[in-house]
Amino acid sequence: MTVPAETIVAMPPERGRKRNWLQSESATGLGLISPTLIYALIFLVVPILLVIANSFWTQHYLVVDRTFTLENYRIAVTDPIYRDLLMRSLWISLLVSFFTVVLAYPIAFFISFHGGRHKGLWLFLITIPFWTSYLLRVMSWKVILGYNGVLNATLMGLGITDQPSDAFLYNTSAVVITLTHAWATFAVLPIFVSLEKIDRTLIEAATDLGDGPVRRFLRITLPLSAPGIISAVLIVMIPTVGDFVTPKLVGGKDGVMIANAIQAQFGKAANWPLGAALSVTTMAVVTAIAAAVVLTIRTAARRIR
C-alpha cells in the first residue's frame, strides 16, 4: 500500500473539475429549477424593480419624465392624506394579525393536541371557507353587518335592541372583523405545523419535572411554537396592508386604506410614479414593522424560562 501519490492523479485536474461540475448535483438542481426561477425573475423581481424605478420618476399627463426625483416620496410621506391612510392601514393590519393569531392559536392547539384521529378533517373544515371567493365573503359580511342585516335582525329578534343600528358597518371595526375572518386559515396552519413538530416527550418531561398544565404550556409549548406564531404574523400582516376590496366594500370613509389610494393612482388618477412611491413606502414600512413584531415575539419566547 505504498504507492507514490503522484501516480494516482492521472486525470488533468482542469478538465476533471469541469466535467464533475456539469454532472454534479448543483448543476442538475439549478438546471431543473431554472424555468421556475426565470419565471419568477421576469414576473416578480423585474416588475418590483421597475416599480422602484418608477417611484423616482415623474409623470406629466401621458409622458414619463425619467429624471431622478424624490418628490413622490416627499408627497407619500408628508401629505396628510397618504400619511393618515398609511398609519391607519398599519394599525388595521396590526389589529388584524393580533386578533387572527390570538383566535387561531387555541384552535391550532386543540387540533394538534386533542384532534386525535380527526386532525385531517378539522384542518379540512378550517380550510374550506378560505377557498370560497374572497369577494363574496366580504359581500357576506356586508349582508351580516348591514342596517338591514343579519346581526341587526338577530339583535331585534332577541329583544336586545328595538331598532336597527348602523354602527356595525362602514367603519374600521367592520374592516377588522372581515379581514380577521379572511385570514383565519393562514394563521391556523403555520401554528398547527409548529405545534405538531413539538416532541410530545418534552411535555411529558416537563410534567415529570413538576410543571402543571399551565406552566408547561407557558414554558414548553408556547416558546416552541413561536416559529409558527411568527410565520402566522408575517403571512397575515403584510398582505393585509395591501387589501383594497374589504375597505372599499365594508370600510366606508373611515375604513379606507393605503391600497385604495394606490389603486386610484394606477386607475383614475393615473399617476404611476406616485402610486409606485406609495407602494414602495408601504412595503418598506410594513416590512420594518413586521420585523419589529417578529423580534419582539422571539425575544419574548427566549425570555420564558
Partner: protein, 273 residues
C-alpha cells in the same frame, strides 16, 4: 389541577365549535339568500325561489365571464403545476447553491401584498407595450399559484424515499423508465392536488385579474362590477353559491387524492407543511 386538566379539552372543544361557526357564518348566508325571493338580502326570509339561478343562465356577460375564468384557470393551473414540478423536484432531490433563497423567492408572492404584485406586473405589461388580456391575467395567476403548487408538490415529493428510484435503477430500469414506472405514479396524487388547488385559486382570484385584464372579465371581475347595483345582488349570491359548490367539490377531490397518497408514502402534508 386535575380538574383543570379534565376541563381543558371540553372548553377547547366548545371554542373550536364556535370558531368553526365564525368561519362558516358568512359562507352559509350565500346559499340562504340566493334562494330568497326578496331582492335585498334581509331577514325575515320572504320565500323560496330558483329565479336568480334561472336568470344566470340567460345573462350573456356572465356566461362569457364564466368561460373566460375557466380558460384562465385551466391554463394557470397547468403552467403553475409544471413550474411547481420542476422546482419541487429540484428542491427535494438536489442540493445546490442558493437553494433556500430561491425557494424563498418562489414562495414570496404568498407574503407580498397582492396589490403590489398586481401593480408591478401591470407596469411591466404596459411599459413593454403588451395589450392587457386574459393572457396577462394567466401570467399573474401563475405567479401567485406557484407558492401553493410548490408547497403541495414539495410535501408530496418529500415523502418519496430516494432508495425507491435507486431500487428501480438497480433492477435494470433506465432513468426515463424509472421516472415513468416509479416516480410518476408515486407523485401523481401531489400533481393532481396541485392542479386542483391552483385551479381553485385562479377561479376565485380577483385583484390580479382586476388589474391585469383588458376588456374580458373573469367571474370575480364580473361580480365586482355587479356589486355596485343593489338589484343584481341576488344574482351575484346565486353565482357565488355555484362557485362555492364548485370549489368545495374540487378541494374535496384534492384532499381525498392527497390523503390516499399520504397513506402510501406515510407522509402527512399538503398545504399544511
Amino acid at each position: 389541577m386535575t380538574a383543570l386538566r379534565k376541563m381543558l379539552p371540553s372548553w377547547l372543544t366548545a371554542y373550536a365549535v364556535l370558531y368553526i361557526g365564525f368561519l362558516y357564518l358568512p359562507v352559509i348566508f350565500l346559499p340562504i339568500f340566493s334562494i330568497n325571493t326578496a331582492a335585498t338580502p334581509k331577514f325575515p326570509l320572504s320565500g323560496y325561489t330558483l329565479k336568480w339561478y334561472r336568470d344566470l343562465a340567460t345573462t350573456p356577460a356572465l356566461t362569457d365571464a364564466a368561460w373566460n375564468s375557466l380558460m384562465v384557470a385551466v391554463s394557470a393551473s397547468l403552467l403553475a403545476t409544471m413550474f411547481g414540478i420542476c422546482a419541487a423536484r429540484a428542491i427535494t432531490r438536489y442540493r445546490f447553491p442558493a437553494r433556500r433563497s430561491i425557494n424563498g423567492l418562489l414562495m414570496a408572492p404568498l407574503v407580498l401584498p397582492e396589490i403590489i404584485i398586481a401593480v408591478s406586473m401591470l407596469l411591466v405589461m404596459l411599459q413593454l407595450g403588451l395589450n392587457l388580456s386574459l393572457i396577462t391575467v394567466v401570467f399573474g395567476h401563475v405567479l401567485i399559484c406557484i407558492p401553493y403548487s410548490l408547497s403541495v408538490l414539495t410535501s408530496g415529493f418529500e415523502g418519496f424515499d430516494r432508495s425507491l428510484e435507486e431500487a428501480s435503477a438497480d433492477l435494470g430500469e433506465s432513468p426515463f423508465g424509472t421516472f415513468r414506472r416509479v416516480t410518476l405514479p408515486m407523485v401523481a396524487p401531489a400533481i393532481i392536488s396541485s392542479l386542483l388547488v391552483s385551479f381553485t385559486i385562479s377561479l376565485d382570484e380577483f385583484i390580479m385579474a382586476f388589474f391585469l385584464t383588458g376588456t374580458d372579465a373573469t367571474l370575480p371581475v364580473y361580480i365586482w362590477g355587479q356589486l355596485r347595483f343593489a338589484a343584481k345582488l341576488p344574482g351575484v349570491l346565486a353565482l357565488g353559491t355555484l362557485l362555492l359548490i364548485a370549489s368545495v367539490i374540487l378541494l374535496t377531490i384534492a384532499e381525498i387524492v392527497r390523503r390516499r397518497a399520504s397513506r402510501r408514502t406515510q407522509n402527512m402534508g399538503g398545504l399544511i407543511a
